[in-house]
C-alpha cells in the first residue's frame, strides 16, 4: 500500500494534480490537506470516481499555522499505514511593493509558502526514510527572476527552490527524491491575485502543470530530482 499527501488540493494545480494522480492510480491512498472543506470535498469526489472507496481522506488545517503539521503527518502515517509521497502545492500571495509590505503579510506568505513545506518535509521524512519516497515542491518562475511588487511571494518561492536543491542532496541516502517545479503563468486563483487583469484562457492551465507533476511522481522516474524544472507553455498566437 502506498500513500501520497497533497497540500492545497482544493483548487488550481493542487486539484488538477490530485485528480490526475487518482486517474493514473500511482498511489493507493491520498491524504488531502487544506482548509477549504467545500473545495476539498469536490476534489475528493472527483478522485473517488477512479479509486476504491475510502482511498482518500481530508485533513483540515490552515497552513499558516505550520505548528499543526506534525500532528497531521503523524495521523496520516498511522491511519494510512505509511507515507510514500508528499506534494507541497498550497501557496499564498499578497503582492505588494516593498514600502507597503507589512511584516504580518510577509510573515504570512512565508508561513504558507516556506514554513509549511519545511514542516511537512521534516515530519514526512521521519516516516519516509526507512523505505524512500518522493517529495515535490511547487515553486514558481517568480522565485528565479526579479518581480517588482511581488517581494514576499517571489522571495518565498526562491526559498522553496533552494530548500528543494539542498534536500535533494541531504535526503539522497534515504532513497528520497526531492523535485521542484516552477510553473510560469498558470490560470489559478493565486495568479488572479498577482495579475487580476489577465485573461486566464490565454495562459497555461492547471492540468498542464499537473501533467508534468504526475510524470515526475511516477515511480519509474529516477533522474529529474534536484533541479528546478521550469514549466512554461508554448502558446499559439
Amino acid at each position: 500500500m502506498s500513500t501520497c499527501i497533497i497540500t492545497g488540493p482544493g483548487s488550481g494545480i493542487g486539484r488538477a494534480t490530485a485528480i490526475m494522480l487518482a486517474e493514473r492510480g500511482y498511489y493507493d491512498h491520498y491524504a488531502l490537506v487544506g482548509r477549504n472543506d467545500e473545495e476539498m470535498r469536490a476534489t475528493q469526489k472527483e478522485m473517488q470516481k477512479h479509486l476504491p472507496e475510502g482511498s482518500t481522506k481530508l485533513y483540515h488545517i490552515d497552513l499558516s499555522n505550520p505548528e499543526q503539521i506534525p500532528e497531521v503527518v503523524k495521523a496520516v502515517n498511522e491511519e494510512m499505514g505509511g507515507i510514500d509521497a508528499l506534494l507541497n502545492i498550497a501557496g499564498y500571495t499578497d503582492p505588494q511593493p516593498l514600502l507597503t509590505t507589512t511584516l504580518e503579510s510577509f510573515e504570512l506568505t512565508y508561513r504558507v509558502n516556506v514554513f509549511a513545506p519545511f514542516m511537512f518535509m521534516r515530519e514526512c521524512v521521519k516516516y519516509m526514510r526507512q523505505k524512500g519516497g518522493k517529495i515535490l515542491n511547487v515553486a514558481s518562475t517568480a522565485g528565479m527572476t526579479p518581480r517588482p511588487g511581488w517581494l514576499s511571494y517571489a522571495s518565498s518561492k526562491a526559498a522553496v527552490i533552494s530548500m528543494s536543491e539542498t534536500l535533494t542532496a541531504e535526503l539522497s541516502e534515504y532513497g528520497i527524491m526531492v523535485y521542484c517545479v516552477s510553473p510560469g503563468r498558470c490560470a489559478t486563483k493565486l495568479r488572479r491575485r498577482l495579475a487580476p487583469d489577465e485573461d486566464p484562457t490565454t495562459i497555461m492551465q492547471p492540468a498542464e502543470v499537473a501533467e508534468v507533476v504526475c510524470n515526475l511522481m511516477n515511480r519509474e522516474e529516477r533522474c529529474l530530482d534536484g533541479q528546478n524544472i521550469i514549466i512554461r507553455k508554448q502558446m499559439r498566437k
Partner: protein, 227 residues
C-alpha cells in the same frame, strides 16, 4: 542479539576544533548520527550504549529524538582512555554479544554491519589489507615487517560480552593499555578464534581536518544515491 557499544568520547584535539569531531556536520548531518541512524534499521542489534562525555548526553538524546531513532539508547561516561571508555560501556551491555564501534568511523554501511554479524564466529573484527610498506623504527629504521602478515584493524568488531569483560578486567589488573579490543581478546583468550572479516577502503577514521574533507567525498561516492 547484540548491544552496540558506541564510543563517542573523543575530544577532537587533533581536529584543532573546540567541538569534538563526532558532533561536527558531515554531509549535513552530525557525524555521530550517521551510524546511529543506520544501526536503527538492523534488527539483530537490540540496543545501544553510547559512551560519551557527560555534557554531551543531552544533545545526543535530542538528536536521537530529532532523527527518530527507535532503539533503546543508554549512556555511559567516557573514561580517560579508550580502554576505560569501553570498560565503562561494557557495564551497561545487556546482551550476550556486543558490537564495538566508534562515532569517528561514520562510513560503515548497514550491510557491512550485517556481514560482520553473519559470520559464524562470535568474535570477529573488520580488517583491511595494508597497501603500503611498514618498517619498525622511530628515529632510525630498526627492523623489517612482512606486510602480508599485517592487518589494518578496522571497526566494527564483535565479541562475546563475557569474554570482553573478562579481558578488560585482566588488562586492568595488569595495568596494560590496548588501543582496540581484538588484540586484547587474542592475548587473554588465545584459545578463541577471532575471525577477520574483509574491511572496506571507505571505512575511514575521522581524525584530522583533512579527513573531514575526504569524508565529504567518501559520503558522496559511497553513500549518496545521486550519481
Amino acid at each position: 542479539m547484540y548491544t552496540l557499544l558506541f564510543l563517542s568520547g573523543g575530544t577532537g584535539s587533533r581536529m584543532q576544533n573546540a567541538t569534538p569531531k563526532q558532533y561536527l556536520l558531515l554531509a549535513g548531518k552530525p557525524v555521530i548520527m550517521h551510524i546511529l541512524e543506520r544501526v536503527d534499521a538492523i534488527d539483530a542489534i537490540k540496543d545501544v550504549v553510547v559512551v560519551c562525555a557527560k555534557e554531551y548526553e543531552a544533545s545526543i538524546q535530542l538528536m536521537l529524538n530529532q532523527y527518530g531513532v527507535r532503539k533503546e539508547v543508554r549512556f555511559a561516561h567516557a573514561g580517560a582512555t579508550r580502554q576505560e571508555s569501553v570498560r565503562n560501556g561494557l557495564a551497561l551491555v545487556r546482551e550476550e554479544d556486543v558490537i564495538v564501534h566508534e562515532a569517528a568511523r561514520p562510513f560503515v554501511k548497514t550491510e557491512d554491519f550485517e556481514r560482520l554479524i553473519a559470520v559464524k564466529e562470535r568474535n570477529a573484527t573488520l580488517g583491511y589489507s595494508i597497501p603500503f610498506s611498514v618498517l619498525k623504527g622511530h628515529e632510525y629504521v630498526e627492523g623489517l615487517t612482512e606486510r602480508s602478515e599485517l592487518i589494518n584493524v578496522q571497526l566494527p568488531q564483535k565479541f562475546e560480552t563475557r569474554l570482553l569483560k573478562e579481558a578488560h578486567e585482566k588488562a586492568l589488573e595488569e595495568g596494560r593499555e590496548f588501543t582496540e579490543d581484538a588484540g586484547m581478546i587474542y592475548l587473554y583468550h588465545p584459545e578463541v578464534p577471532i575471525k577477520v572479516v574483509e574491511g572496506m577502503d571507505y571505512d575511514l577514521k575521522l581524525t584530522t581536518r583533512i579527513d573531514m574533507l575526504a569524508g565529504e567525498q567518501i559520503y558522496k561516492d559511497v553513500f549518496s544515491g545521486r550519481k
